[in-house]
Assembly symmetry: C2
Amino acid sequence: MERSLAEADLVLVTGGLGPTSDDLTRDYAASLLGLEMVEDAETMERIRRRLAARGRQCGEGQRRQAMVPAGARVLPNERGTAPGLAFSGPGPLAGKRARLLCLLPGPPSELHPMFVDQVLPLVREIFVGEVLTQKAKEYHFAGIGEGELAAMVDALNLGTEGIDVGYCAHSMGTIELRLTGSERDLERAEAAIAPLLGEDFYSRETDSLERVVVGLLGERGETVAVAESCTGGAVCSRLTDIPGSSAVFGHGFITYANSAKIRMLEVAPGDLDAHGAVSEVVALAMAEGARAAGGATYGLALTGIAGPGGGTADKPVGTVWIAVSGGLGGPLARRHVFNTDRGSFKRFAATHALDLLRRRILSYI
Amino acid sequence: MERSLAEADLVLVTGGLGPTSDDLTRDYAASLLGLEMVEDAETMERIRRRLAARGRQCGEGQRRQAMVPAGARVLPNERGTAPGLAFSGPGPLAGKRARLLCLLPGPPSELHPMFVDQVLPLVREIFVGEVLTQKAKEYHFAGIGEGELAAMVDALNLGTEGIDVGYCAHSMGTIELRLTGSERDLERAEAAIAPLLGEDFYSRETDSLERVVVGLLGERGETVAVAESCTGGAVCSRLTDIPGSSAVFGHGFITYANSAKIRMLEVAPGDLDAHGAVSEVVALAMAEGARAAGGATYGLALTGIAGPGGGTADKPVGTVWIAVSGGLGGPLARRHVFNTDRGSFKRFAATHALDLLRRRILSYI
């Protein structure tokens, strides 16, 4: 913190604002800036109300969270007990290069809204006319490798036209392309990139495929029912992460056991015996079964081997069959092999399932 | 990187090893250390095989990933295309303070195993006798606030006995207590802390409640069926994150719609009308319905209002009823209010459900 205040114009610190004895950020900042700690009455009241709502008493640790360095601006925390703290101006930051120091809570669910709602306006206020004039455009893709996409984009040589090109392979298995530059340069880049925005491209606004799928279904007044074996609820959980998803999703069937596939989805026991649970036939039967049992426009199903055990020579760990039914085309299944750990397997399989549904809704397949 | 190599003994860099034009870590390290880039035949072969398994060709970007600075030790990546790179000894690090520099892939699923399996052994080899002799003990709690736990632990004054006390509120809503110190000091601390390890304490080994629950069920030869409304599959997905969970979990019912609660769980329409979907009566009926339909030892159910819409005066956004049935006691439901964003609501509710099941399995409730 000391070095950053001497070297940077804007210093953001996250974490260490909690109620426990190892939460040292507040006190350290106060000692570094030579400020006394004083109780902030409004914060104390806010913490008390928050704890009371959970039937909890205010302890020593919570009282510490209401102590703030004198002269700090308190950034109220709607999502937790620890307020953020901002220091600016020659008072607290005398002799430092930094013109703004913000201490922010570590938990992302508290940090993110505080940054957007309270820190960014402060930055704009203090760094008038110095804020980046560059803009960014983002494009999100599924079903294409980072390398493949990059080969196509790099061939456009946008870099020579003042555009900064960035790629990010998100942990869910989608790819983000990010172009940064002046508004005018970006407009030209947008035209150059347009031919690449085909069926693999799914959004300019969000990396969340589930948000796109829920939006597409909502616009059409359509619904989906989901049957999951190997992903064990990951697809349903992602769909229901989206506010308003109840309008397009009502039924999910987590059929981890074969008996559940038979009972809940009316998969034929003979098909399970003849082809195994991880097969095209069973995936298709699950999708059709989910659609029928859920009375939905579309059925979406996954069956696979998440590992680490359970693989065979012709069905290695990581194998998954994903099926979609309903819409204009007939029922359709695709096979993938995700040779990775169990958690990544579930994420990648769920992403490919949501992407298969997107392509079916849009009649690409 | 330049500053770190001058100031630190061990430098770890993550990310920027991918196949795209903005992945600059490899080339920057080579230029900083004055090393030429050469193709590593083994890495090239590994990447080619990996891509072929997915039916993909090797592009320009992937070929770049097989280029390594001369003299670097290649750390093979079992989970992705980008190998890690390690630099040590007076050759590549001449004139630097650093004795080991590691460039590691950014994706956690690739980074974590590489760090544990390949980097830690290198650190032990190069920093012989200088490695930390301190040990750590961790304790994981659920159903207790960080402040409450800290107040009890701080009263023991372990700090004065050479123990460093750390707390972490995990994003799932559990609390970790971490004690660090010499082996002898830790033994004394362990005795002091023992009386605090009551019903809220669930593990020394893992922060994963689902791992603990799957373990408890497995030891007893018992099973659970899960019915989820507001959490939309988050509980099922967490249970099935655990390898071997298929032995204790076979049926999940994602009953987001009321019609699904009636059809899949035989919840009485009259109860839905009289009490609403978010009620003790319906939560209990869902747990019993899941247990019966899934033929399981225990039924676990959640129904609530994830928000941001849908709240009322007596059932505000964040309200959730969690019920468990089966085992020694009768069916039982608890009400919570998690006043947070939708994502955190789902995580906290799922954690409290898993914790309720844990307490029932152990006959605490």
